[in-house]
Amino acid sequence: MDNKELILRIKELSISYRSSGSSFWGSKEEIVAVNDVSLTVRRGKTFAIVGESGSGKTSIAMSILGFVKPVSGTVEFNGMNLFSLEADKRRKTMRLIQPVFQDANSALNPRMTVETSLADSIDTPDQLQKREQTNSLLRSVGLSSDHMGKYPHQLSGGQKQRLCIARALAPEPELLILDEPVSAQDLSIQAQILSLLLEIKKAKNITYLLISHDLNVVRILADRVAVMRSGILVEEASCEKFFSDPTHPYSQELLENSGIK
C-alpha cells in the first residue's frame, strides 16, 4: 500500500491506566485498556472499530487525539509519527484530525453561542471571512444563520450534534473521529445525522474513524470493520465480509446479539 493512500497507521499500540485508590508507596494496579493493537486506515474510507464498552476502542481514539499517552507503540498520520512532532508542527497537524463526540451536551461549551463556538474553530484573523465561513459551515450541516446567537441549551439534540459536526469540519480536517456519533439520539434523528455524515464524506472526501458499539450504524457508514475485545483486536475485515461471514466467534456473537444476524 503506498503512503498517499494511507492516512493513519497504528503500530503495536498499548495503553494502560493506573487504577485509583492505590496507596502512596504501594504498588499501583495497571489496567490494560489496549493491548498491542495495529491497524491501518485508508484515505477517504470509513474505518469502524466495534466492541463493547471497556473494550478499548475509545482509548484508541483518545490516544490518536493526544488525550491519552500510550505505554508503547506509535500512531502515524500522513506518514508522521504524532507522538514525536514538534509543538508547532503538531498543532497544525492535529487540526487535521477532529473529533465528534457521543454526547453533544457535554461537547459544547454551555457559555458560548453557536457563533462563538464556530468562530473559535476557524483559524483566521479576518473577521469578515470568519463570518462568511461560519455561515457556510452552518448551512453545510443543515442549520441556518438564525441559530447564530443561540446557546447550546436552546438547541435540540439533533441540532447540537449538527453544530458539533460543523465545528469539527471548520479546520477542514482530513480525518474525523466519530465516537458513537448518534447513539445519544432518537432513531429519527439518528437517521438524519447518519445521512448528513454520508453526504459530508461524499462532498469532502474526508476519512472517518468510527467508534461504535451499534452494528446498524457501522453497516451504514463503514468500509472496514475491526473488532475489539478486552483491549485486543480480534478481527479485521471488510464491511461486507464482516456482516456476511465473520470469522472470530466473538464477532459472530456480537452480530447475533445485535439482531442483525
Partner: protein, 325 residues
C-alpha cells in the same frame, strides 16, 4: 495504610514546624514592643535596654529563633511569660482543659441539634415545618456568636439571675461536695455551651439536610421503598448512614472555626481558657505565651483534620486512604 499514616505524620509535623516558625517571625516583625509594659515615660533608655536584654530580645532574630527552637525541642521549654514570669507551658496547660471542655461539649451539642433538625427537616422537605427549621437554622447561622452570647448573658444571668454568667466556678466552689463541684462547673458552662453550640449547629444542620434530601431521592432509596421496606428502616439504615458520612469530613475542617468560636465565647463569659490567654498575650506582646499558644492551636487543627480522615476511612469502606484525587 501504614505508609499513608507515616506520610500524614510527616505532613503534620511539617505543617506544625512551618506554621510555628512563620508565627515566630510574623509576631516579631509586627509593630509593638513587649518592654512597653514595664516602662513609664520617665524611665531611662538604659533601663529599657536592661529589660530588653533580660528578656533575651537583644540578640539578632535568627539567633533568638534558633534558641527558641532548641529550647522547645530539647527541654520542651517555651520560655516564661513576660507578664508574670510563669512558665508558658504551665499557663497554657492551665487554660487548655477549659477550652477543650467548652469546645467538646459545644461540638456534641451542636452536632446533635444540627443532625436532628437537619434530618427532621429533610424528612418533611417542602412543608411548613421544613421551612420553619430552615429559617431557624439560617437565623443561628447568621447571628454573631458574641451577640448571641451577650443576649443570653443579659437575659439569663443579669436579668433573670438563673445562671452564672462569668468565670468557671462560684466563689464558694471550694466548699462544695464533689457532685456539688461538678454541678457548679455545669451551671457555669450552660450559657457558653449554648452560645457556641447554637451557632455551630446550623453548619451541620444545613449540611445534613441537603445531603439527606439528596440521599432520600436517590435510586437505592426509591427501590427500597418499592420493595416495601418500612419507612423507619429506610430512614435509619439506608438514609442516615449515607447522609451522615460526608458530615465526618466537614467535622474535621470545622475544628478551626470551633476553636475560634471558643475564643470569643470565653472572652464574653470570662472563662479562664485559651481565648483569654491568647487575647491577653496578643495585646501585651507576650511572645513566649503567643508562641506556646500558637503551637497548641496548630496541633489542635492538625489533630482535627487527622481524626476526620480516620473517621471517614472507618465509616466508609469504599475509601482507601491515600487516594488523594
Amino acid at each position: 495504610m501504614l505508609a499513608y499514616s507515616i506520610r500524614r505524620l510527616i505532613t503534620a509535623l511539617l505543617t506544625l514546624f512551618l506554621g510555628v516558625s512563620l508565627t515566630f517571625f510574623v509576631i516579631r516583625l509586627a509593630p509593638g514592643d513587649p518592654t512597653d509594659r514595664f516602662l513609664t515615660p520617665s524611665m531611662s533608655p538604659k533601663v529599657k535596654a536592661a529589660i530588653t536584654e533580660k528578656l533575651g530580645l537583644n540578640e539578632p532574630l535568627p539567633i533568638q529563633y534558633m534558641t527558641w527552637v532548641k529550647n522547645v525541642i530539647i527541654d520542651f521549654d517555651f520560655g516564661d511569660s513576660f507578664a508574670n514570669g510563669r512558665k508558658a507551658s504551665t499557663v497554657i496547660m492551665d487554660a487548655l482543659p477549659y477550652t477543650l471542655l467548652l469546645s467538646t461539649l459545644s461540638l456534641l451539642f451542636g452536632l446533635l441539634l444540627g443532625t436532628v433538625s437537619g434530618v427532621y427537616s429533610a424528612l418533611r422537605v417542602g412543608t411548613p415545618v421544613d421551612r420553619a427549621i430552615t429559617s431557624i437554622l439560617m437565623f443561628f447561622y447568621s447571628v454573631p456568636s458574641f451577640w448571641l452570647g451577650l443576649i443570653l448573658l443579659g437575659i439569663f444571668s443579669i436579668e433573670l439571675n438563673w445562671l452564672p454568667g462569668s468565670q468557671i466556678t462560684s466563689i464558694f466552689h471550694e466548699r462544695l461536695s464533689f457532685f456539688g463541684k461538678i454541678g457548679d462547673y455545669a451551671a457555669h458552662l450552660i450559657l457558653p455551651v449554648l452560645t457556641l453550640g447554637l451557632t455551630t449547629a446550623p453548619v451541620y444542620g444545613r449540611f445534613v439536610r441537603s445531603s439527606m434530601v439528596e440521599v432520600l431521592n436517590s435510586d437505592f432509596i426509591v427501590s427500597a421503598r418499592a420493595r416495601g421496606l418500612s419507612e423507619r428502616k429506610i430512614v435509619f439504615n439506608y438514609g442516615l448512614r449515607n447522609a451522615l458520612l460526608p458530615l465526618i469530613s466537614i467535622l474535621g475542617t470545622s475544628f478551626p472555626a470551633l476553636f475560634s468560636g471558643a475564643v470569643i465565647v470565653e472572652v464574653i463569659y470570662s472563662l479562664p481558657g485559651m481565648g483569654r490567654v491568647m487575647v491577653d498575650a496578643a495585646l501585651g506582646r507576650d511572645y513566649p505565651i503567643i508562641m506556646a499558644a500558637s503551637a497548641v492551636a496548630f496541633v489542635a487543627v492538625i489533630i482535627g483534620n487527622f481524626l476526620a480522615d480516620i473517621g471517614y476511612a472507618v465509616a466508609d469502606p469504599r475509601v482507601r486512604l491515600g487516594d488523594s484525587s
